[in-house]
Amino acid sequence: MSSAEISAGASTEAAISRPPGRNERLADRTFSILAHSSALAIVLLVAYILWEIGIQALPAIADNGISFIFGSVWDVQKSTFGILPAIWGTLYSALMALLIGGFFGITVAIFLTQDFLPPRLSMVFRTVIEMLAAIPSVVFGLWGIFVVIPAIRPLANWLHETLGWLPFFGTSLSGPGLLPAALVLAIMVLPTVAAISQDALQLVPFRTKEAAYGMGTTRWEAILKVMLPTAAGGIFSALVLGFGRALGETMALAMLIGNSNQISLSLFAPANTLASLLASSFPEAGAIERQALMYAALVLLAITLAVNMFGTFMLALTTRRISGKS
């Protein structure tokens, strides 16, 4: 059989095994270059995002400087822009959400990984939690307006009347406010924390658990003194990534937090976040305000990138340590 025949018929039976022909090598080169550039595209995309938002924000940075971050007035008429209330609201709502969602998320992770349920039921429940992550933010917002706010208003106003001297209950809840926003945010953070914490708990070697039981611990001693400390790094990363998610969440917050530029400790007062400031002001903004909003976007980008990079890095580090690869 001649070599011309072999390279011509890739599908003939005699030619199942043979060195690649010239066309095939050309195709291989092309494919490699395409794959290479696609990977490179991701790196360039992130760089381009940083660059573009930075450039757009530049005029506002020049005009407002650092007082943009520490100022608390957002007045388009006077061209005075300050985002301290939005930063405050972002951090306050995200921390509240993390407190609630983190507690529930970690408990659910323990519930799902430490043999509380038979495997089949555990699968069902895991699906319920994962479905929670699939509900669009805007639907949570709608639900929050018509279910959460009416549901918590009586309790909130009772707290305000009886414990109003505490700064946390300093105002009454008239409608949108920090607490309903943080509650809905907590529900949205829960699946993230639960999923990553489950992975962390499942990474703990079976032998470690067996050893704990072998020493005569009860189930809860094993969970609290062996499992949780061993998985602590992963769970911490879960909280960091959940926090990152909460910082950037937009729609539900824009619908529930009240979009009011004030700094208040009260859980029932309307507030604002960076993301919902963007969502509510950007579409109707004029040129000058738009530059200021780009500056706000840059601040949000910097905060979330830092938190997410930290979380991703932590997760990689602890996963590597627990699974024993150096």
């Binding site: 690649p20 395409l34 290479h36 939690i129 479905m131 509900i135």
Partner: protein, 270 residues
């Protein structure tokens, strides 16, 4: 005793954690289910004082923009995943790509809108379906890359080695061995990414904006289900709020169907 309390507490927390999903689904069915009818899918959104109406243009807009996003992000995502898993898994570029893709999964979706506004909307001079689709593509990419890479890595080393031993080039190995074998996993990722962006609204707010009319071209403002829900949720008119619930029901049904589909496809076969 203490152990029993802790166990009871854990059960309680787990039960409370499932309340929101049940409540959301219940509200969607009760509030949105009553409005379900054919005219929802064929008519245009009503003005405040009008009765009836639907959101046919918003469904079409969502489908078109998700299609644009898929057309951009699926090829790039799978090619990048092939690079990460088989072309050059340990290179500096691969490590950076992987890390940045993970970081991008936590990227606030509204910033994708801000970015695309600056790059596409300002350049074109108007809001458009194209800009909306591109913003969604930015959000789809990382999910597709990371899940496709996982799926491709699961293909046994031996199969790849055998193919190389038979004289396959690397691209042939990927086309004829890795992609077909890893297809269920790759599809899972793609469908999950589609489900995620179909419900996104923040990136569309100032890229696609909204429109009360049918889509005529990709270069003009375009309606979407999620923005319709957002706009109508703050309206004082009963009719529009009912439509917001009905639109939520349709949107959640779409998203859940895609989610279940991805589970069925991705379920490990033994």
């Amino acid at each position: 005793m203490r152990s029993g309390l802790l166990t009871a507490g854990t059960w309680l927390v787990a039960l409370i954690a499932s309340v929101p999903l049940i409540s959301v689904l219940y509200m969607l069915i009760v509030q949105g289910g009553g409005r379900l009818s054919a005219e929802l899918f064929t008519e245009l959104p009503p003005a405040g004082f009008e009765m009836g109406g639907g959101f046919g243009n918003a469904i079409l807009g969502t489908v078109v923009m998700v299609a644009i996003a898929s057309a951009i992000s699926i090829p790039i995502g799978i090619l990048a995943a092939a690079y990460l898993s088989d072309v050059d898994p340990d290179s500096k570029l691969a490590q950076w790509t992987r890390f940045l893709a993970k970081v991008l999964t936590g990227f606030p979706s509204i910033l994708a809108g801000v970015f695309v506004y600056a790059v596409v909307v300002l350049a074109m001079g108007r809001y458009s379906a194209l800009a909306g689709g591109i913003a969604l593509a930015v959000l789809m990419l990382p999910t597709i890359i990371l899940t496709a890479e996982e799926a491709m890595k699961m293909v046994p080393r031996k199969m790849k080695d055998a193919a190389i031993g038979m004289g396959c080039t690397r691209s042939q190995v990927i086309w004829q061995i890795v992609l077909p074998t890893g297809l269920p996993g790759i599809l899972t990722g793609v469908i999950l990414a589609v489900a995620r962006v179909a419900g996104e609204s923040a990136p569309l707010l100032f890229t696609a904006l909204f429109s009360n009319y049918w889509l005529n071209s990709l270069g003009e403002p375009t309606a979407s289900l999620s923005i319709l829900i957002y706009n109508f949720s703050s309206m004082p008119f009963e009719n529009q709020i009912e439509l917001a619930w009905a639109a939520s029901l349709v949107l959640v049904l779409i998203v859940l169907v895609f989610n279940i589909l991805s589970r069925l496809i991705g379920r490990p076969k033994i």
